[in-house]
Every structure is written in C-alpha cells, then in structure tokens.
C-alpha cells in the first residue's frame, strides 16, 4: 500500500508539484510565472520551494535567459516518482 507524502501533501506544495508535473521531462518554469500562476507571494513560494529542494523533489537553477537573470524550477526524477506515488495513495483512499 502506498503512503501519503506529508512534504507533498501541504496545499501550496501540492499545487507547486502539480504545476511542475504538467511540464514535459526536463522542462523548467520561471519563478515569477509559478508565483503568478499559483497566486503565491515571492516569500511564501521561496520557502515552499526550499522545502521541496531539500527533499530532492525539485531543482532550482539560476541562469540568464534572453540576457535577463531568471530562477528556473524543474521537477527531479525523484520528485516526479514521489508525486505519482502520492497521487496513487490519494486514489487508494477513494477506493
């Protein structure tokens, strides 16, 4: 039986993970776009991203895109796997 993941289950982090899962493998989303999409403040988003990064679920990369500094976020392989496990556990509860 698969277990719910408490790190992912927190509402804001659940939305962050779901948004990143929607991207194709290896694709990255800009920090400010993610914040706007989820209606989270920079501070709040930053804190949740740090938790997810420490768990090894996401990768945060700072680089220049079109000559502008960007913070780009992507899901790691482990993150995608853990998220899928979490969704499976949720579906199991529904029966």
């Amino acid at each position: 039986m698969t277990e719910l993941n408490p790190t992912i289950h927190q509402p804001a982090r659940l939305k962050i993970m779901a948004s990143l899962v929607a991207l194709e493998n290896g694709a990255q989303m800009d920090f400010s776009s993610l914040g706007k999409l989820l209606k989270l403040t920079d501070g709040n988003l930053g804190a949740h991203l740090q938790t997810l990064e420490e768990a090894g679920y996401i990768k945060i990369e700072k680089k220049f895109v079109e000559r502008k500094p960007r913070t780009l976020i992507s899901l790691t392989r482990k993150g995608r796997y853990e998220f899928e496990e979490h969704v499976a556990a949720l579906k199991q509860i529904l029966g």
């Binding site: 694709a27 776009s33 079109e66 509860i93």
Partner: protein
C-alpha cells in the same frame, strides 16, 4: 498520515486544476499568435478585395509583421517555460510553411480565388491537427474556418477575399482573444 475520503478527493481536484492551469499558461502565447495572424488575414484579404494592385506589398509588410510578432511571442514564452531541445510546435509550423510554398509551386492555383482557398485550408488543416493534440478551441476553429471558406468559395465568388478577411481573420482574432481572456 491519515486523511478522509473528502480530503483525498479535494486534493485530487486541486492537482487536476493546477495541471490544467499550467497547460493553459503554456498555451497562452498561442492565443496572442492567433490574434496577430487574425489581424494579418483581415487586413491582407480586405486589401486583396478592395485594392488588388497594392495587395503584393501590403501582404509582404503584413507577413513581416506576422512572423516578427510570432517570434516575439515564442521568445517570451520560452522565458517563462524553458523547454529542453528544439521547439517542436514551431518547427512543425516551419515544415508546413515550406510544404505550402512547395505545393503552391507544384500545383499553381490558376486564379486568386483558388489561391486563397488553398492557402486558408492548408493552414486550417494544421489547426485541426494541432487541436487534436492540444486544445479543442483550435480543433473547432480549424473546422469552422474550413467550412466558412468552402461556403464563400462556392456561394460568394466575387466577394471571396472580403469573406475570408471577415470569417478567417475574425475567427483567428476572436479565438485568440478568447484564449487570452480565459487561459490567463
């Protein structure tokens, strides 16, 4: 960690809506591109109808505007969503455009009306195919404009360029506006 069935259902609903929101945000620039080409078609085909002598250079200027605008939208989208490897949708459009030029050369539509119908239906075919993969808006847009183009081709031959400006240009512009408003 234990949660109720209702909480599990709410979480799954939240996941689905977050995924859908992201996909729509990724496609938002597509709406802007539709609006740009809607303007190009509306002005271009109206010029073909009313000022056929100026149509050549007007179309050239409009195409530069269209391709330039499309490029800017693509660059903006790439800054928000950085994808690995080449932009396959962009490449697919480039391939289609290449084949469109080749077919035009090989088939050589004999008059202006056939040329317009050929151009519009080739690109609407691409919208229908894209719609099957990406969004129903594009699918219905492609089918509706194809049907309207055929209706104008057979029943309004003298006003066909204007008909295409209104139906084709209008459909592209307003479906782009719909995507811009509802996918934000």
């Amino acid at each position: 960690m234990n949660i109720s069935k209702q909480e599990a259902q709410e979480s799954l609903t939240e996941i689905e809506s977050a995924i859908a929101r992201t996909r729509r945000a990724m496609g938002l620039h597509g709406g802007h591109i539709l609006m740009i080409w809607g303007i190009v078609w509306a002005i271009g085909f109206a010029t073909t109808q009313f000022c056929p002598r100026d149509a050549g250079w007007v179309w050239l200027a409009l195409d530069i505007f269209g391709f330039g605008g499309t490029w800017i939208c693509a660059v903006k989208s790439r800054a928000r969503f950085h994808r690995p490897g080449p932009n396959r949708v962009g490449l697919a459009w480039l391939v289609l455009f290449g084949y469109f030029v080749l077919w035009n050369f090989l088939l050589q539509p004999v008059n202006e009306r056939e040329g317009i119908a050929f151009s519009v239906t080739v690109f609407m075919c691409a919208y229908v195919i894209m719609g099957l993969w990406l969004s129903r808006v594009l699918l219905w847009l492609g089918l509706a404009v194809t049907a309207l183009t055929l209706a104008g081709f057979y029943f309004l031959p003298a006003w066909f360029p204007l008909w295409t400006a209104i139906t084709g240009g209008g459909a592209l512009f307003f479906s782009g506006l719909y995507i811009h408003k509802s996918w934000k």
